[in-house]
């Protein structure tokens, strides 16, 4: 029987074609000249070809990845659905489809905490002062005059400042004709609740600056591989600019150990300090430009980072971090000034380096725990921070345990032949046709691919495995018949993008060594959380939420992350991707002194577990060094996916 199929495209064009009963919607669309992407080769695996049946009936052979509600609304997979009637089909834009899929997670957007109140939560305030001009009758010195005004007009009884600021005070007072704006940090007063604690004077500006104009602060996460920086208007709490760049220390070693060793030699410590400062200051400059501010306008900085990064930023010897029994120089740092630290900001700006727990569990994790809310969770929560070091936290509001494992920078796109950060030009998702081994990929920004970012690597590894290009050990199956599978410099490799399509003109490949790096990274994380859970006697089934932080990219396909065995095989609804939780935690601490206090509490409460103490971790690691895992029964969904292929 012949039916009339009417397609409506995203730009509202309607095209009709005739088709026989039993024709696939994807074929009908092709007849109509409409290109419905089928990254997986029309096998109903990827869900990217979903369309909406607005009128008439169809028969769905498979509705994998569509929720019952979607089906209710008429969604169907074009490659798995056949015509049985006259139908009208709406072809939605690709982006919209991806939002619908049950597997895809978009990293949560940053929003200002709903209850943020600059006047009660923020430690840095801009206050107006009106001083009585001096006279022959009142020859009080400038500084005392200022102090008196602060005491009488704002009840600030113990204000101190630096010498360089003291040198500027007289000029500012006179230029403003005794009307000035002071920027003060009230952290001590707020935390203690006592008004006689020292208040730090950050700046004194002539005249009355609009109380509600932007007041700039910055939250920074110093990752081993990537430094991320947010530019925040402290008055509104809004994040006005974000910037990230590879840590300049990478040139001196990819992992913390290399950095520590380097720091221990000659001028190494100072070189590393300067390198990370350069990275931070360049980022500050970029961020300032974006918000049309000057670095001197930044009056407060909150910094998170692992213990090694923190030590290296501050030039504190880090050697004992790597040597047994693994001791840091300092976990809880005093508040410093930008001048002391070397940050391009207002020299008197408060620089608050967040506290860490142990050598391998630093402020990035305490901040992460805060932003992920693990310390207040009612039910057992697993928090994974997937970075160069994988850090893991398990617990709830009553107890918290944590451990660290060395994952390597693969998921940040580093240490992989064609890896890159999740920025324009990065392949962020890959699908491979299991018959032809031809890939379909999506590039951030839509242009030519330059490389592959973390989420792209997860996706690629999973597809190569599911389609049989890789065996479960990660060996490239050179018996596969495709020119994309070939012997490369490091053993077998798979070509994701030919030189002709790439930005550089060179092939973009997944090499055997890359696969090994990715396997090790995912195995370390998986082994880390399984061993941690085992150590405290909690089964993974008892974990109600899995919160994942890290810089893979903007989108994560949960199914793929499970298929490679990075994440446990559990109900997808239990996963949440939080992006960079460290910088987010620093941001929250930057805004709200009570949250900052909570981080100190978290650091004191967390129990650190050393994984390397016995064989258990190695065992778990080797068993996870397989796709998805040596014990396939732990991954029932992957088992059934493999059977389907």
């Amino acid at each position: 029987m012949e039916h009339l199929i009417t397609f409506t495209t995203p730009d509202q064009n309607s095209i009709s074609v005739k088709s026989q009963t039993g024709m696939l919607l994807s074929d009908a669309a092709h007849l109509a000249g409409i290109d419905i992407g089928q990254p997986c080769g029309g096998q109903g695996r990827c869900g990217r070809c979903a369309v909406q049946v607005t009128d008439g009936t169809v028969r769905r052979r498979s509705a994998l990845r569509l929720s019952p509600a979607d089906i209710e609304q008429g969604f169907a997979l074009a490659c798995q659905t056949v015509v049985e009637d006259d139908v009208s089909i709406y072809v939605p834009p690709q982006e919209k489809i991806e939002r619908r899929l049950t597997t895809d997670r978009v990293v949560a957007e940053v929003t200002v905490p709903a209850d943020y109140d600059y006047l009660s939560d923020q430690t840095v305030r801009r206050i107006h002062l009106e001083l009585t001009p001096p006279s022959m009758d009142d020859q009080t010195d400038d500084w005392s005059r200022l102090q008196t005004a602060l005491r009488l007009q704002h009840r600030l009884e113990n204000v101190t400042c630096s010498l360089p600021l003291l040198q500027k005070i007289g000029a500012a007072l006179r230029e403003g004709e005794w009307q000035v704006t002071a920027i003060v940090d009230l952290a001590n007063v707020l935390q203690s609740g006592e008004s006689d604690r020292p208040v730090w004077l950050i700046d004194l500006q002539p005249g009355h600056v609009d109380e509600y104009s932007s007041l700039w602060g910055t939250a920074i996460d110093i990752g081993t591989t990537t430094v991320s920086l947010w530019m925040v208007n402290l008055v509104t709490g809004e994040v006005k600019a974000q910037a990230a760049e590879y840590n300049g220390q990478i040139a001196r070693g990819e992992d913390v150990i290399s950095r520590i060793v380097y720091a221990g030699k000659g001028n190494g410590r100072e070189d590393l300090r300067q390198r990370v400062l350069d990275t931070m200051n360049v980022l500050l400059e970029i961020a300032c430009k974006r918000v049309k501010a000057k670095p001197e306008d930044i009056v407060k900085a909150t910094i998170a980072g692992n213990s090694t990064m923190m030590h290296l930023l501050l030039g504190i010897p880090a050697e004992n971090i790597r040597l047994s029994p693994f001791i840091t120089g300092v976990n809880h740092l005093p508040v410093m000034t930008a001048r002391e630290v070397g940050l391009s900001a207002n020299p008197e700006a408060s620089v608050d380096c967040l506290p860490g727990v142990a050598s391998y569990v630093g402020a990035d994790i305490t901040a992460g725990v805060l932003s992920a809310g693990v310390d207040s969770a009612e039910e057992t929560t697993l928090f994974l921070d997937v970075g160069t070091n994988g850090e893991i936290v398990l617990g709830d509001r009553d107890w918290l345990v944590t451990c660290a494992c060395s994952a390597g920078p693969a998921f940040e796109g580093a240490g992989v032949v064609n890896g890159m950060r999740a920025t324009t030009g990065a392949i962020e998702e890959v699908w491979i046709n299991s018959e032809t081994f031809e890939p379909t990929y999506r590039v951030i920004g839509g242009g030519k691919p330059k490389g592959i970012c973390g989420s792209g690597l997860i996706s690629l590894l999973s597809e190569a495995f599911i389609t049989g290009i890789l065996d479960k050990r990660g060996n490239v199956n050179l018996m596969a018949t495709s020119s994309r599978v070939r012997e490369g410099a490091h053993g077998g490799e798979y070509v994701v993008a030919w030189g002709a399509e790439s930005e550089s003109g060179e092939d973009i490949v997944l090499s055997r060594v890359d696969v090994d790096n990715l396997l090790r990274a995912k195995a370390a994380i998986y082994a880390g959380f399984t061993v941690l859970a085992e150590t405290v006697g909690i089964s993974l089934e008892a974990v109600s939420k899995v919160l994942v932080g890290g810089s893979f990219g903007k989108y994560i396909n949960v199914e793929k992350a499970v298929q490679i065995g990075l994440l446990p095989d559990m109900d997808w609804s239990r996963f949440e991707f939080l992006g960079n939780t460290s910088v987010k935690g620093a941001y929250l601490a930057l805004l709200d002194w009570q949250k900052r206090e909570r981080i100190t509490e978290i650091a004191k409460r967390m129990t650190y577990i050393e994984l390397s103490a016995d064989n258990t971790f190695y065992e778990a690691f080797t068993s996870a060094l397989f796709l998805p895992h040596t014990d396939l029964s732990k991954f029932p969904s992957v088992e059934s996916a493999l059977q389907k292929n």
Partner: protein, 447 residues
């Protein structure tokens, strides 16, 4: 039942006061769960928690100590069926049996007592001697035994086992062994009352012997009722299979907290002939015996048995290591390259297998990195220039090769300068980071 860290944590004050020496109560709880600290370190734990925690910690197999004025041997206190589950703690005592009537007894014991063999830096010896009262009562066995004990005590300070069924003879011999803890072999259903008295009087340990586990359990309870706490089981069993069954059953029952069999066992290796002695002793060592008695003093048998015992009782929770040393791969020649790696077994195998598979000859120098992989060892300071140089010099690699050139793993490229300083007459090359790239590297870069 063993409790988990979180379960124990819930019984603790949860104040994180740090007075126990750990940063949090949970950290302390997990150390308790792993039996690495005593509950007493917590000053604030409640009496009720103390009681609950003590119950979960009692050992299922009694610790038995034989003591002389020279040395002691401890057996028992085992907690698992298979060594990988935790570890086997107390190595079985290896004893040599001598006959009381043997005119050469002193000479034989003296020779065996002096036996010492070194295995990877450890000195191994026999643990003691079993003196068998072999005469019958009519020929004055009591005197023979006493004379033998005196003679033996003069040439060895090691603990003793006295074998005999005559309570009076055992009594008089034990009187010679003041302040010792000796093992008496053996009480059965016919003589246990008198032997129990002797054991009690001399604070000796008593072997209990019966034809079945049922009878054995009955007997240990009767003896315990007579006030003897320290016992050892002779499980019987006429061949390898039967003894394996009984030993397994007794261990299982004991681990299930069946107290009447919660004692270590003793096994006589030559019971079915000297030609089977080594194999019998080997099974006993592997399968739970507490004391193994041999009849032959033969270093060529004792050395491998002592090594076997060491192997079986090594803590399996430690990372798997290979012996540091120079490994020859594909029959290397003096001009073959020298590769360096660590003694973590997986690392060693990864490197050795790649090179072996390539067919290229090489000297593989395995350094003592305390069983860590290259990166971990380097991170922890266990694989540095000093240690590498020490291995190259210590194993005298220079004498094996014509070309003094070593290849470091790519992951520790940063060490090359320091290694050059330490080994000034050697050329230092940096190899690939991954073993998989070694064959290509050896073909291209080393020629």
């Amino acid at each position: 039942m063993a409790l988990s860290g979180i379960q124990i944590y819930k019984m603790l004050p949860q104040t994180n006061c740090k007075e126990c020496g750990f940063p949090t109560c949970l950290a302390f709880a997990m150390k308790l769960a792993a039996k690495q600290v005593e509950l007493g370190s917590c000053p604030y734990v409640s009496e009720e928690s103390k009681k609950q925690l003590a119950e979960s910690a009692a050992p299922p197999i009694r610790l038995i100590t034989l003591k002389s004025n020279g040395t002691e041997v401890k057996v028992g206190n085992e907690v698992v069926m298979f060594r990988h589950e935790k570890t086997f703690y107390n190595k079985p005592g290896l004893f040599l049996r001598v006959k009381a009537s043997d005119p050469d007894i002193a000479k034989k014991v003296a020779q065996a007592d002096a036996y010492k063999v070194n295995y990877v830096g450890m000195d191994f010896t026999l643990n003691g001697f079993a003196i068998e009262a072999d005469g019958d009562a009519s020929t004055g066995s009591a005197q023979v035994l006493s004379a033998a004990v005196k003679a033996v005590r003069e040439v060895t300070k090691r603990p003793l086992i006295l074998i005999g069924s005559d309570a009076a003879a055992l009594d008089s011999s034990l009187s010679l062994l003041v302040n010792e803890s000796t093992l008496i072999y053996a009480a059965d259903s016919s003589n246990y009352e008198s032997l129990a008295d002797v054991a009690k009087k001399h604070k000796a340990v008593l072997v209990v012997k019966a034809d079945s586990l049922d009878d054995l359990a009955d007997l240990t309870q009767k003896i315990q009722a007579k006030g003897v706490e320290d016992m050892v089981l002779d499980l019987g069993g006429k061949n390898l299979s039967e003894w394996l069954a009984r030993s397994t059953q007794a261990r299982r029952l004991a681990l299930k907290n069946f107290k009447p069999l919660g004692y270590p066992s003793i096994f006589f290796a030559a019971q079915n002939g000297l030609d089977k002695e080594a194999v019998y002793a080997a099974q006993a060592i592997a399968k739970y015996a507490g004391f193994v008695v041999i009849d032959t003093f033969a270093p060529e048998m004792i050395y491998p048995l002592l090594v076997l015992r060491e192997n079986i009782y090594t803590d399996p929770q430690k990372p798997i290591q290979v012996q540091p040393g120079v490994y020859e791969i594909n029959s290397p020649k003096p001009e073959s390259p020298v590769l360096v790696t660590t003694n973590f077994s997986i690392t060693y195998f990864a490197v050795a297998n790649e090179v072996e598979g390539s067919g290229l000859p090489a000297w593989l120098v395995v350094t003592d990195a305390e069983g860590m992989s290259v990166l971990t060892a380097w991170a922890a300071g266990k694989f540095d220039a000093e240690r590498i140089a020490k291995a190259i010099k210590g194993f005298d690699v220079a004498s094996k090769v014509s070309k003094k050139r070593i290849v470091l793993p790519g992951h520790v490229a940063v060490l090359s300068g320091e290694v050059e300083e330490e080994l000034s007459d050697w050329e230092v090359r940096v190899g690939p980071r991954e073993a998989v790239d070694l064959p290509a590297f050896m073909k291209q870069a080393l020629n």
